[in-house]
Subunit: 395 residues, 2 copies
């Protein structure tokens, strides 16, 4: 008989062999661990079973999506379940890593869509733990490249422990003199996205005019700061007065405008009388359409996201695409996973800035998996006070 | 007093000094030259004046646009005038070339538009000779890089003689074992455009799936053949049954479809079950929008022209731009003038094919400037039998 609590199919194979080996299963103890740090609630109520001798099986709390969602996740779409268990060992002979998730990252790509050709990177199905980036510690390794105790970041599941069977793009964290949580943001996927789009697609030169949409997002904030550090002129767009103030006064943007209050074309004319060399676009749609005629000859558009489009029944039309031809623009979509070879170069550039305090970075860290439904919703409602991070377990 | 026949402002400066030096002007003779070749009508009725001694002044027949046009030129928009004159000498001290135009090229960019951000490369004003590419012979040179007798191709005026004051992008013709008229098409701007877009933007690999819109145009024909010679799979779209037949049976395209008869999405699905790696786009609009979702990951779109858009009051919207993001596409507009450094490489590739007869190329050569109004209109009505060339004077 198979245990009913196993809901994640990728544990099923392991569980079969486990059950064949060991019967009956004995629940041994309940640990109520004390977490002195901000991760208090996270690892509470962990249930440990041991069988066969030497194999630790623990309850594995998970964040699941109630059903397939067609938009961004509301807190009510998510629930916490603690009916699953996992062994803390990688099944023998399997090239996998058993990791303990320390920090999970709430990011704008974590959403559903009812349309084909739109992102659905969020959930593999109802009652499956959702996917996202995180910082994890290797508990057991079935791969020669990793050993117990290694700290890594990459795509994981929103649960306490994850058996990673796919980790080619995971990065071993070498520098721990900076907060580990930074590897969910500034030094992780969003940071590397900002770097890749800005440097590889944008090909900036000192003095370039740079426009960043959704500039207050985790990616946009860093793009703007990298551009300033390079001697560019940078303007960002965002959707609230508060964000505009912070972009201008805290994050060093030369200018910023609220796209909800100001006509986009007029704002771009005002902010870029000379035109735009690099447009780092996180939103697409009307913003992209408005920016196209303001691009200078040989301008580059890094298409990083199209946040404005994912929920629309009919996507916005782009009517100014002739500008791309007449001004010999380049527009390129990119996915940061495909540029992992650039990550060391990115760290070489950004780590010194982080250590010297030359980059402003704000986190909004919530404690415990229980906080994740509300925390993830805040990514999309724009109500978080910084990069959304869930601290799951103590470092 | 200034002569009333001088309508081209760039001759005015010269004429001023000429008139200050010489008065009165004496009309000497009328030459009715016999042209045994196809250029008979072209250079007929040339009027020559000589003054001062040693300076030959000739009447200079011109093709002018009656008024600014807002669409493509109809034959009735153009007229031939022979009221202008030109000296056959470059004014002393001027870095210019006085050239005799041999072949003029009718190309789709030669049009007007009433909209900003659309091409208006055609005419500098009413009663001004229109601009276009051509093959010319240097009559007198004020530049150390050129001498009398040199054959060149580049942007010139539709007239018998032109004083070129801007010729940085002109190319000296080195290979005359191929028809000179080819330098208006296959070996000139359209050919170099095909090469630049396909190789530089498209970055083809053997086996790539290539889609060419307006495939029967001068550029499209060569793109398709270059792609076949490289081992790609090539499909073209065009607007008539005859063109589709020729693309498939004469030009070696693997497949072709008539966008006026077949639903574009269905046609692309049928022709590209594996998707498109390179889209060489000459038309934009609905064709571009239809092609976007059929692009494979990392596909490249060479935006060469947007023929479908130039006359529209409201351009077509592009609704599938999210494909660019999700499939990490690159879309790039380019202008061949900016890639003249590649021209020798282009010739190295294409000349052997031309000599070996491995490239099919059709010209529709009309004789004499008088034929140009109808010839130019045929570029846009699709009624020409090949690349539209006007033979103005014997080689």
């Amino acid at each position: 008989m198979y245990s009913k609590v196993i809901t994640n199919p990728r544990f099923l194979v392991f569980t079969r062999s486990y059950i064949n080996l060991t019967s009956p299963r004995n629940q041994v103890t309940n640990h109520h661990l004390h977490h002195p740090s901000r991760t208090r609630a996270a690892a509470a109520a962990t249930t440990t079973t041991m069988d066969p001798p030497g194999t630790t099986v623990v309850r594995n709390k998970q964040v699941v999506c109630k059903e397939a969602i067609s938009s961004y996740p509301r807190a009510s779409d998510l629930r916490i379940i603690d009916t699953s268990t996992t062994s803390l060992k990688v099944p023998q002979g399997q090239e996998a890593l058993l990791v303990k998730n320390l920090y999970l990252s709430g990011d704008p790509h974590m959403r559903g869509s009812k349309f084909k050709n739109r992102p659905r990177l969020f959930s593999s199905g109802p009652d499956q733990p959702i996917s996202g980036f995180g910082v994890s510690k290797v508990v057991d390794s079935g791969s020669p490249g990793f050993k117990a105790g290694d700290l890594i970041w990459g795509l994981t599941k929103w649960e306490e422990y994850t058996l990673l069977t796919s980790f080619a793009n995971h990065v071993k964290i070498q520098h721990t003199d900076v907060p580990l949580s930074y590897y969910t943001g500034l030094l992780g996927m969003p940071g590397h996205t900002a770097y890749t789009g800005f440097y590889e697609v944008g090909r900036p030169k000192k003095g370039d005019y740079v426009f960043v949409s959704s500039a207050y997002g985790a990616v946009g904030q860093l793009v703007g700061q990298l551009a300033k550090l390079m001697g560019c002129y940078v303007v960002g767009s965002a959707g609230s007065k508060e964000k505009i103030e912070l972009l201008k006064n805290k994050l060093g943007f030369d200018d910023a405008f609220n796209y909800k209050e100001e006509d986009m074309d007029a704002a771009l004319k005002r902010c870029f009388p000379e035109g735009i060399d690099i447009f780092f676009d996180n939103v697409g749609g009307k913003t992209l359409d408005a920016a196209l005629p303001h691009m200078r000859s040989h301008g580059r558009i890094a298409a990083c996201g199209m946040l404005s489009q994912y929920d629309l029944e009919q996507p916005d039309g782009i009517f100014n695409i002739t500008s791309l031809l007449l001004n010999r623009l380049q527009m390129k979509g990119f996915l940061v996973f495909e540029h992992m070879d650039l990550y060391p170069k990115f760290l070489d550039l950004v780590l010194p800035y982080v250590r010297e305090g030359k980059i402003v970075y704000m986190e909004d860290i919530k404690e415990g998996l229980e906080s994740s439904p509300a925390a993830l919703e805040s990514v999309f409602t724009g109500t978080s006070a910084g990069k959304v991070v869930i601290a799951v377990a103590p470092e």
